[in-house]
Protein backbone atom coordinates (compact mmCIF):
# COMPACT_ATOMS: atom_id res chain seq x y z
CA UNK A 1 0.00 0.00 0.00
CA UNK A 2 2.66 2.50 0.97
CA UNK A 3 5.34 1.16 -1.35
CA UNK A 4 7.02 3.56 -3.74
CA UNK A 5 9.09 2.68 -6.80
CA UNK A 6 12.13 4.41 -8.30
CA UNK A 7 11.46 6.03 -11.68
CA UNK A 8 13.55 8.30 -13.91
CA UNK A 9 12.39 11.71 -15.12
CA UNK A 10 12.36 11.91 -18.91
CA UNK A 11 10.61 15.23 -19.34
CA UNK A 12 9.55 18.02 -16.99
CA UNK A 13 6.01 19.12 -17.91
CA UNK A 14 3.98 22.22 -16.95
CA UNK A 15 1.75 22.35 -13.84
CA UNK A 16 4.11 20.33 -11.64
CA UNK A 17 3.87 17.22 -13.76
CA UNK A 18 6.59 15.07 -15.31
CA UNK A 19 6.94 12.18 -17.72
CA UNK A 20 8.80 9.35 -16.03
CA UNK A 21 9.89 5.85 -17.03
CA UNK A 22 10.54 2.59 -15.24
CA UNK A 23 12.13 -0.10 -17.36
CA UNK A 24 10.60 1.32 -20.53
CA UNK A 25 7.11 1.97 -19.13
CA UNK A 26 6.19 5.67 -19.31
CA UNK A 27 3.79 7.54 -17.07
CA UNK A 28 2.78 11.13 -16.37
CA UNK A 29 3.02 11.84 -12.64
CA UNK A 30 2.66 14.76 -10.22
CA UNK A 31 5.87 16.36 -8.99
CA UNK A 32 4.13 19.00 -6.85
CA UNK A 33 6.07 17.82 -3.78
CA UNK A 34 9.54 17.98 -5.38
CA UNK A 35 11.73 21.03 -5.95
CA UNK A 36 14.39 21.60 -8.63
CA UNK A 37 13.51 18.78 -10.94
CA UNK A 38 15.68 17.93 -13.92
CA UNK A 39 15.46 15.29 -16.65
CA UNK A 40 17.56 12.31 -15.59
CA UNK A 41 16.69 12.67 -11.89
CA UNK A 42 15.45 9.58 -10.10
CA UNK A 43 12.27 9.89 -8.02
CA UNK A 44 10.35 7.66 -5.64
CA UNK A 45 6.86 7.34 -7.11
CA UNK A 46 3.83 6.47 -5.00
CA UNK A 47 0.19 6.44 -6.22
CA UNK A 48 0.95 8.89 -9.02
CA UNK A 49 2.95 11.37 -6.93
CA UNK A 50 6.71 11.70 -6.51
CA UNK A 51 7.57 11.71 -2.80
CA UNK A 52 11.33 12.17 -2.83
CA UNK A 53 14.37 12.35 -5.03
CA UNK A 54 16.83 9.47 -4.91
CA UNK A 55 20.28 10.79 -4.13
CA UNK A 56 22.71 8.92 -6.45
CA UNK A 57 25.72 9.52 -4.18
CA UNK A 58 23.91 8.25 -1.08
CA UNK A 59 22.64 5.27 -3.06
CA UNK A 60 26.24 4.43 -3.99
CA UNK A 61 27.32 4.91 -0.36
CA UNK A 62 24.64 2.45 0.82
CA UNK A 63 25.83 -0.13 -1.71
CA UNK A 64 29.43 0.40 -0.58
CA UNK A 65 28.40 -0.18 3.06
CA UNK A 66 26.45 -3.30 2.10
CA UNK A 67 29.47 -4.68 0.18
CA UNK A 68 31.71 -3.88 3.12
CA UNK A 69 29.39 -5.71 5.55
CA UNK A 70 29.14 -8.62 3.14
CA UNK A 71 32.92 -8.85 2.84
CA UNK A 72 33.18 -9.05 6.64
CA UNK A 73 30.53 -11.80 6.65
CA UNK A 74 32.45 -13.63 3.99
CA UNK A 75 35.51 -13.64 6.23
CA UNK A 76 33.46 -14.79 9.24
Amino acid sequence: MCLAIPVQVKEVLPDNMAKVTLDGVSKIVSTALIDDLRPGDYLLLHVGYALAKIDPQEAERTLALIREAAAMGDAA
Partner: protein, 385 residues
Protein backbone atom coordinates in the same frame (compact mmCIF):
# COMPACT_ATOMS: atom_id res chain seq x y z
CA UNK B 1 16.29 -1.64 -13.25
CA UNK B 2 18.24 1.15 -11.60
CA UNK B 3 17.94 1.38 -7.79
CA UNK B 4 16.13 -1.98 -7.63
CA UNK B 5 18.24 -4.85 -8.98
CA UNK B 6 21.47 -3.83 -7.26
CA UNK B 7 19.71 -4.19 -3.89
CA UNK B 8 18.60 -7.75 -4.69
CA UNK B 9 21.98 -9.49 -4.88
CA UNK B 10 21.46 -12.85 -3.16
CA UNK B 11 25.17 -13.54 -2.70
CA UNK B 12 25.69 -10.27 -0.83
CA UNK B 13 22.61 -11.02 1.29
CA UNK B 14 24.07 -14.38 2.31
CA UNK B 15 27.38 -12.76 3.21
CA UNK B 16 25.62 -10.16 5.36
CA UNK B 17 23.62 -12.96 7.01
CA UNK B 18 26.92 -14.65 7.90
CA UNK B 19 28.08 -11.37 9.42
CA UNK B 20 24.82 -11.23 11.46
CA UNK B 21 25.38 -14.82 12.61
CA UNK B 22 28.94 -13.98 13.63
CA UNK B 23 27.84 -10.92 15.61
CA UNK B 24 24.68 -12.33 17.24
CA UNK B 25 25.48 -13.44 20.78
CA UNK B 26 24.49 -17.15 21.04
CA UNK B 27 23.58 -16.60 24.71
CA UNK B 28 20.74 -14.25 23.83
CA UNK B 29 17.86 -13.88 21.39
CA UNK B 30 17.05 -10.90 19.22
CA UNK B 31 13.45 -10.00 18.35
CA UNK B 32 12.93 -7.22 15.84
CA UNK B 33 9.56 -5.99 14.65
CA UNK B 34 9.24 -4.80 11.09
CA UNK B 35 6.37 -2.39 11.37
CA UNK B 36 5.54 -2.03 7.69
CA UNK B 37 3.73 -4.60 5.55
CA UNK B 38 6.13 -3.78 2.73
CA UNK B 39 8.96 -5.20 4.82
CA UNK B 40 6.86 -8.24 5.78
CA UNK B 41 6.29 -8.89 2.09
CA UNK B 42 10.01 -8.49 1.26
CA UNK B 43 11.07 -10.76 4.15
CA UNK B 44 8.69 -13.52 3.00
CA UNK B 45 9.25 -13.08 -0.71
CA UNK B 46 13.03 -13.23 -0.55
CA UNK B 47 13.17 -15.80 2.25
CA UNK B 48 15.23 -13.53 4.49
CA UNK B 49 14.14 -15.38 7.62
CA UNK B 50 15.89 -18.50 6.35
CA UNK B 51 19.15 -16.59 6.12
CA UNK B 52 19.04 -15.43 9.73
CA UNK B 53 20.48 -17.40 12.63
CA UNK B 54 17.88 -19.08 14.84
CA UNK B 55 18.28 -16.53 17.63
CA UNK B 56 17.46 -13.55 15.39
CA UNK B 57 13.73 -13.47 14.74
CA UNK B 58 11.48 -11.06 12.89
CA UNK B 59 8.04 -10.20 14.29
CA UNK B 60 5.53 -9.01 11.72
CA UNK B 61 3.93 -5.80 12.92
CA UNK B 62 0.67 -4.06 12.12
CA UNK B 63 1.91 -1.70 9.43
CA UNK B 64 -0.50 -2.34 6.60
CA UNK B 65 -3.19 0.35 6.42
CA UNK B 66 -5.62 -2.03 4.72
CA UNK B 67 -5.08 -4.66 7.42
CA UNK B 68 -5.66 -2.30 10.34
CA UNK B 69 -8.84 -0.73 8.94
CA UNK B 70 -11.71 -1.80 11.20
CA UNK B 71 -14.54 -3.67 9.56
CA UNK B 72 -17.06 -0.92 10.46
CA UNK B 73 -15.29 1.53 8.14
CA UNK B 74 -15.67 -0.92 5.23
CA UNK B 75 -19.38 -1.32 6.12
CA UNK B 76 -19.77 2.47 6.20
CA UNK B 77 -18.12 2.80 2.77
CA UNK B 78 -20.32 0.06 1.30
CA UNK B 79 -23.46 1.74 2.70
CA UNK B 80 -22.37 5.03 1.14
CA UNK B 81 -21.55 3.44 -2.22
CA UNK B 82 -25.02 1.87 -2.37
CA UNK B 83 -26.56 5.37 -2.51
CA UNK B 84 -27.58 6.10 -6.12
CA UNK B 85 -25.93 9.51 -6.38
CA UNK B 86 -22.51 8.31 -5.14
CA UNK B 87 -19.44 7.23 -7.09
CA UNK B 88 -16.91 5.75 -4.66
CA UNK B 89 -13.28 5.74 -5.81
CA UNK B 90 -10.66 3.70 -4.02
CA UNK B 91 -7.30 1.96 -4.32
CA UNK B 92 -7.41 -1.66 -5.47
CA UNK B 93 -6.23 -3.10 -2.14
CA UNK B 94 -9.54 -2.22 -0.49
CA UNK B 95 -11.85 -3.89 -2.97
CA UNK B 96 -11.72 -7.39 -1.49
CA UNK B 97 -11.43 -6.52 2.21
CA UNK B 98 -14.25 -8.38 3.96
CA UNK B 99 -16.92 -6.28 5.63
CA UNK B 100 -19.68 -7.69 7.82
CA UNK B 101 -21.54 -10.83 6.73
CA UNK B 102 -19.23 -11.64 3.85
CA UNK B 103 -19.71 -8.27 2.13
CA UNK B 104 -16.96 -6.35 0.31
CA UNK B 105 -16.68 -3.37 -2.03
CA UNK B 106 -16.20 -5.83 -4.90
CA UNK B 107 -19.49 -7.57 -4.09
CA UNK B 108 -21.24 -4.20 -3.68
CA UNK B 109 -19.92 -3.23 -7.13
CA UNK B 110 -21.29 -6.48 -8.57
CA UNK B 111 -24.61 -5.64 -6.92
CA UNK B 112 -24.74 -2.35 -8.82
CA UNK B 113 -22.94 0.18 -6.65
CA UNK B 114 -20.82 2.67 -8.61
CA UNK B 115 -17.39 1.80 -7.21
CA UNK B 116 -14.29 2.58 -9.26
CA UNK B 117 -10.80 1.33 -8.62
CA UNK B 118 -8.24 4.09 -9.08
CA UNK B 119 -4.45 4.10 -9.15
CA UNK B 120 -4.13 7.67 -7.94
CA UNK B 121 -6.14 10.54 -6.47
CA UNK B 122 -5.46 12.19 -9.84
CA UNK B 123 -7.79 9.58 -11.41
CA UNK B 124 -10.52 10.30 -8.83
CA UNK B 125 -10.24 14.01 -9.61
CA UNK B 126 -10.55 13.32 -13.33
CA UNK B 127 -13.74 11.33 -12.71
CA UNK B 128 -15.19 14.18 -10.61
CA UNK B 129 -14.36 16.68 -13.36
CA UNK B 130 -15.83 14.53 -16.11
CA UNK B 131 -19.02 13.57 -14.25
CA UNK B 132 -20.19 16.72 -12.53
CA UNK B 133 -23.67 15.26 -11.92
CA UNK B 134 -22.18 12.52 -9.68
CA UNK B 135 -21.00 12.86 -6.07
CA UNK B 136 -17.45 11.49 -6.26
CA UNK B 137 -16.10 10.28 -2.92
CA UNK B 138 -12.48 9.18 -2.56
CA UNK B 139 -12.11 6.41 0.05
CA UNK B 140 -8.76 7.63 1.37
CA UNK B 141 -6.51 5.18 3.22
CA UNK B 142 -2.83 4.86 3.95
CA UNK B 143 0.00 5.92 6.20
CA UNK B 144 2.00 9.15 5.97
CA UNK B 145 3.16 8.14 2.47
CA UNK B 146 -0.32 8.22 1.00
CA UNK B 147 -1.66 11.26 2.85
CA UNK B 148 0.11 14.00 0.81
CA UNK B 149 -1.51 12.76 -2.45
CA UNK B 150 -4.92 13.04 -0.75
CA UNK B 151 -4.08 16.57 0.45
CA UNK B 152 -2.98 17.59 -3.04
CA UNK B 153 -6.18 16.20 -4.56
CA UNK B 154 -8.24 18.32 -2.17
CA UNK B 155 -6.13 21.35 -3.00
CA UNK B 156 -6.73 20.76 -6.71
CA UNK B 157 -10.47 20.16 -6.20
CA UNK B 158 -10.77 23.46 -4.34
CA UNK B 159 -8.71 25.29 -6.98
CA UNK B 160 -10.88 23.88 -9.74
CA UNK B 161 -14.10 24.63 -7.83
CA UNK B 162 -15.15 20.97 -7.92
CA UNK B 163 -18.13 20.89 -5.56
CA UNK B 164 -18.85 17.20 -6.23
CA UNK B 165 -15.59 15.81 -4.78
CA UNK B 166 -15.14 14.70 -1.17
CA UNK B 167 -12.93 12.48 0.99
CA UNK B 168 -13.78 9.58 3.32
CA UNK B 169 -10.64 9.94 5.42
CA UNK B 170 -8.99 6.85 6.93
CA UNK B 171 -5.40 8.04 7.01
CA UNK B 172 -3.41 6.59 9.90
CA UNK B 173 -0.08 7.46 11.52
CA UNK B 174 2.96 5.29 12.17
CA UNK B 175 4.53 6.72 15.37
CA UNK B 176 1.38 6.48 17.58
CA UNK B 177 0.89 2.86 16.49
CA UNK B 178 4.44 1.91 17.46
CA UNK B 179 3.87 3.62 20.80
CA UNK B 180 0.63 1.66 21.22
CA UNK B 181 2.43 -1.64 20.54
CA UNK B 182 4.93 -0.82 23.27
CA UNK B 183 2.64 0.46 25.97
CA UNK B 184 -1.04 -0.39 25.41
CA UNK B 185 -2.61 -2.22 28.40
CA UNK B 186 -3.75 -5.09 26.13
CA UNK B 187 -0.30 -5.76 24.84
CA UNK B 188 1.17 -5.55 28.32
CA UNK B 189 -1.45 -8.03 29.53
CA UNK B 190 -0.59 -10.48 26.76
CA UNK B 191 2.98 -10.05 27.81
CA UNK B 192 4.46 -12.35 25.24
CA UNK B 193 6.00 -9.95 22.78
CA UNK B 194 9.64 -9.27 23.31
CA UNK B 195 10.81 -6.52 21.00
CA UNK B 196 14.45 -5.49 20.93
CA UNK B 197 14.14 -3.00 18.10
CA UNK B 198 12.17 -1.81 15.09
CA UNK B 199 12.73 -1.73 11.36
CA UNK B 200 11.07 1.55 10.39
CA UNK B 201 9.41 2.13 7.00
CA UNK B 202 11.57 4.16 4.62
CA UNK B 203 8.77 5.34 2.37
CA UNK B 204 6.85 6.78 5.32
CA UNK B 205 10.08 8.50 6.36
CA UNK B 206 10.58 10.06 2.91
CA UNK B 207 7.66 12.22 4.08
CA UNK B 208 8.05 12.49 7.89
CA UNK B 209 11.83 11.99 8.14
CA UNK B 210 13.59 9.90 10.78
CA UNK B 211 13.14 12.50 13.50
CA UNK B 212 9.68 11.36 14.77
CA UNK B 213 11.23 8.04 15.88
CA UNK B 214 13.76 9.71 18.17
CA UNK B 215 11.07 9.70 20.87
CA UNK B 216 10.89 5.88 20.98
CA UNK B 217 14.56 5.41 20.90
CA UNK B 218 14.82 7.70 23.92
CA UNK B 219 11.60 6.97 25.81
CA UNK B 220 11.37 3.20 25.28
CA UNK B 221 15.07 2.56 24.79
CA UNK B 222 14.43 0.66 21.57
CA UNK B 223 16.67 1.06 18.54
CA UNK B 224 14.95 2.00 15.27
CA UNK B 225 16.55 1.54 11.84
CA UNK B 226 14.62 3.17 9.01
CA UNK B 227 15.10 0.83 6.07
CA UNK B 228 14.24 0.42 2.40
CA UNK B 229 12.20 -2.44 0.99
CA UNK B 230 14.66 -4.35 -1.16
CA UNK B 231 16.12 -7.49 0.44
CA UNK B 232 19.61 -6.03 0.91
CA UNK B 233 18.08 -2.95 2.57
CA UNK B 234 16.20 -5.11 5.06
CA UNK B 235 19.08 -7.42 5.90
CA UNK B 236 21.47 -4.49 6.31
CA UNK B 237 18.94 -2.94 8.73
CA UNK B 238 18.87 -6.19 10.74
CA UNK B 239 22.67 -6.12 10.95
CA UNK B 240 22.51 -2.49 12.14
CA UNK B 241 19.96 -3.47 14.82
CA UNK B 242 22.07 -6.40 16.04
CA UNK B 243 25.05 -4.07 16.36
CA UNK B 244 22.99 -1.55 18.34
CA UNK B 245 21.66 -4.24 20.72
CA UNK B 246 25.17 -5.64 21.24
CA UNK B 247 26.52 -2.16 21.99
CA UNK B 248 23.62 -1.37 24.35
CA UNK B 249 22.66 1.56 22.10
CA UNK B 250 19.11 2.68 21.28
CA UNK B 251 19.37 5.17 18.47
CA UNK B 252 17.51 6.04 15.32
CA UNK B 253 19.64 5.06 12.34
CA UNK B 254 18.89 5.66 8.68
CA UNK B 255 19.65 2.82 6.29
CA UNK B 256 17.77 4.53 3.43
CA UNK B 257 20.02 7.56 3.09
CA UNK B 258 19.35 7.59 -0.66
CA UNK B 259 15.81 8.90 -0.13
CA UNK B 260 15.28 9.77 3.55
CA UNK B 261 16.51 12.75 5.55
CA UNK B 262 16.06 13.56 9.23
CA UNK B 263 13.35 16.11 8.51
CA UNK B 264 11.66 14.44 5.53
CA UNK B 265 9.72 16.22 2.80
CA UNK B 266 8.68 19.45 4.47
CA UNK B 267 6.64 20.55 1.47
CA UNK B 268 4.53 17.38 1.81
CA UNK B 269 4.20 17.87 5.56
CA UNK B 270 2.95 21.44 5.03
CA UNK B 271 0.30 20.27 2.52
CA UNK B 272 -0.91 17.60 4.96
CA UNK B 273 -0.99 20.08 7.86
CA UNK B 274 -3.08 22.49 5.77
CA UNK B 275 -5.88 20.01 5.32
CA UNK B 276 -5.70 17.47 8.15
CA UNK B 277 -5.68 17.41 11.94
CA UNK B 278 -5.28 14.60 14.50
CA UNK B 279 -8.23 12.50 15.59
CA UNK B 280 -8.19 12.11 19.36
CA UNK B 281 -8.76 8.41 18.89
CA UNK B 282 -9.27 5.99 16.00
CA UNK B 283 -9.96 2.27 16.05
CA UNK B 284 -7.27 0.08 14.51
CA UNK B 285 -8.08 -3.52 13.78
CA UNK B 286 -5.93 -5.56 16.11
CA UNK B 287 -4.77 -2.65 18.25
CA UNK B 288 -8.12 -1.23 19.39
CA UNK B 289 -8.47 2.51 19.96
CA UNK B 290 -5.16 4.22 19.19
CA UNK B 291 -4.91 7.71 20.71
CA UNK B 292 -4.00 10.28 18.05
CA UNK B 293 -3.47 7.39 15.64
CA UNK B 294 -5.29 8.88 12.64
CA UNK B 295 -6.16 12.07 10.78
CA UNK B 296 -9.39 13.81 9.82
CA UNK B 297 -10.12 16.84 7.67
CA UNK B 298 -9.89 20.19 9.39
CA UNK B 299 -13.31 21.69 10.20
CA UNK B 300 -12.96 24.44 7.59
CA UNK B 301 -13.02 21.74 4.89
CA UNK B 302 -16.24 20.20 6.16
CA UNK B 303 -17.79 20.53 2.71
CA UNK B 304 -15.19 18.05 1.42
CA UNK B 305 -15.52 15.64 4.34
CA UNK B 306 -17.72 12.75 3.17
CA UNK B 307 -18.36 11.62 6.75
CA UNK B 308 -20.05 14.94 7.53
CA UNK B 309 -21.45 15.70 4.13
CA UNK B 310 -23.31 12.39 3.86
CA UNK B 311 -23.87 11.87 7.61
CA UNK B 312 -21.96 8.59 7.45
CA UNK B 313 -22.12 6.31 10.46
CA UNK B 314 -19.49 3.75 11.34
CA UNK B 315 -21.36 0.75 12.70
CA UNK B 316 -19.78 -1.28 15.48
CA UNK B 317 -18.82 -4.49 13.71
CA UNK B 318 -17.08 -7.55 15.04
CA UNK B 319 -14.48 -9.56 13.20
CA UNK B 320 -15.04 -13.26 12.60
CA UNK B 321 -14.41 -14.66 16.11
CA UNK B 322 -12.15 -17.42 14.79
CA UNK B 323 -9.99 -14.95 12.82
CA UNK B 324 -6.67 -14.24 14.56
CA UNK B 325 -5.83 -11.09 12.56
CA UNK B 326 -5.84 -9.06 15.77
CA UNK B 327 -3.19 -11.17 17.50
CA UNK B 328 -1.20 -11.52 14.27
CA UNK B 329 -1.15 -7.74 13.75
CA UNK B 330 0.25 -7.30 17.25
CA UNK B 331 2.95 -9.86 16.62
CA UNK B 332 1.58 -12.14 19.36
CA UNK B 333 0.63 -14.95 16.97
CA UNK B 334 1.90 -16.12 13.62
CA UNK B 335 -0.30 -16.80 10.58
CA UNK B 336 0.02 -20.57 10.92
CA UNK B 337 -1.32 -20.32 14.50
CA UNK B 338 -4.76 -19.30 13.13
CA UNK B 339 -7.30 -22.10 12.69
CA UNK B 340 -8.67 -20.41 9.55
CA UNK B 341 -5.29 -20.05 7.84
CA UNK B 342 -5.14 -22.17 4.73
CA UNK B 343 -8.44 -23.88 5.49
CA UNK B 344 -11.30 -21.47 4.87
CA UNK B 345 -9.02 -18.42 4.69
CA UNK B 346 -6.90 -18.35 1.54
CA UNK B 347 -5.89 -15.74 -1.02
CA UNK B 348 -9.02 -16.56 -3.05
CA UNK B 349 -11.34 -16.50 -0.03
CA UNK B 350 -9.81 -14.16 2.54
CA UNK B 351 -11.65 -14.10 5.86
CA UNK B 352 -9.52 -11.46 7.53
CA UNK B 353 -7.65 -8.43 6.37
CA UNK B 354 -4.18 -9.97 6.87
CA UNK B 355 -4.96 -12.32 3.97
CA UNK B 356 -6.41 -9.61 1.70
CA UNK B 357 -3.58 -7.18 1.25
CA UNK B 358 -0.46 -8.62 -0.40
CA UNK B 359 1.42 -6.89 2.42
CA UNK B 360 -0.57 -8.68 5.12
CA UNK B 361 1.35 -11.20 7.22
CA UNK B 362 -1.01 -14.05 6.27
CA UNK B 363 -0.95 -13.33 2.54
CA UNK B 364 2.84 -13.10 2.59
CA UNK B 365 3.12 -16.37 4.53
CA UNK B 366 0.57 -18.12 2.29
CA UNK B 367 2.32 -17.00 -0.88
CA UNK B 368 5.94 -17.51 0.09
CA UNK B 369 6.36 -19.05 3.52
CA UNK B 370 4.11 -22.01 4.24
CA UNK B 371 6.24 -24.69 2.57
CA UNK B 372 9.41 -23.13 3.88
CA UNK B 373 8.16 -23.50 7.46
CA UNK B 374 7.55 -27.23 6.89
CA UNK B 375 11.04 -27.62 5.47
CA UNK B 376 12.45 -25.82 8.48
CA UNK B 377 10.64 -28.22 10.84
CA UNK B 378 11.93 -31.23 8.94
CA UNK B 379 15.37 -29.69 9.11
CA UNK B 380 15.11 -29.73 12.90
CA UNK B 381 14.89 -25.96 13.16
CA UNK B 382 18.41 -25.42 11.95
CA UNK B 383 18.84 -22.09 10.22
CA UNK B 384 20.50 -22.12 6.85
CA UNK B 385 23.56 -19.92 7.15
Amino acid sequence: MKYIDEYRDGRLAKDIARQIAALADPARSYHFMEFCGGHTHAISRYGLEDLLPANVRMIHGPGCPVCVLPIGRIDAAIALAMRPEITLCTYGDLMRVPGSNGSSLLKAKAAGADIRMVYSTLDALRIAEAELEREVVFFAIGFETTTPPTALALKAAIAKGLGNFSIFCNHVLTPPAIQNILESPDVRKLGTIKIDGFVGPAHVSTVIGTEPYEFFAGEFQKPVVVAGFEPLDVIQAILMLVRQVNDGRHEVENQYIRGVTALGNEKAQAEVANFFELRESFEWRGLGEVPYGALRLRPKYVAYDAEKRFSMVTPAAKDNPACECGAILRGVKRPADCKLFGTVCTLDTPMGSCMVSSEGACAAHWTYGRFREKARQVDGGRAVA
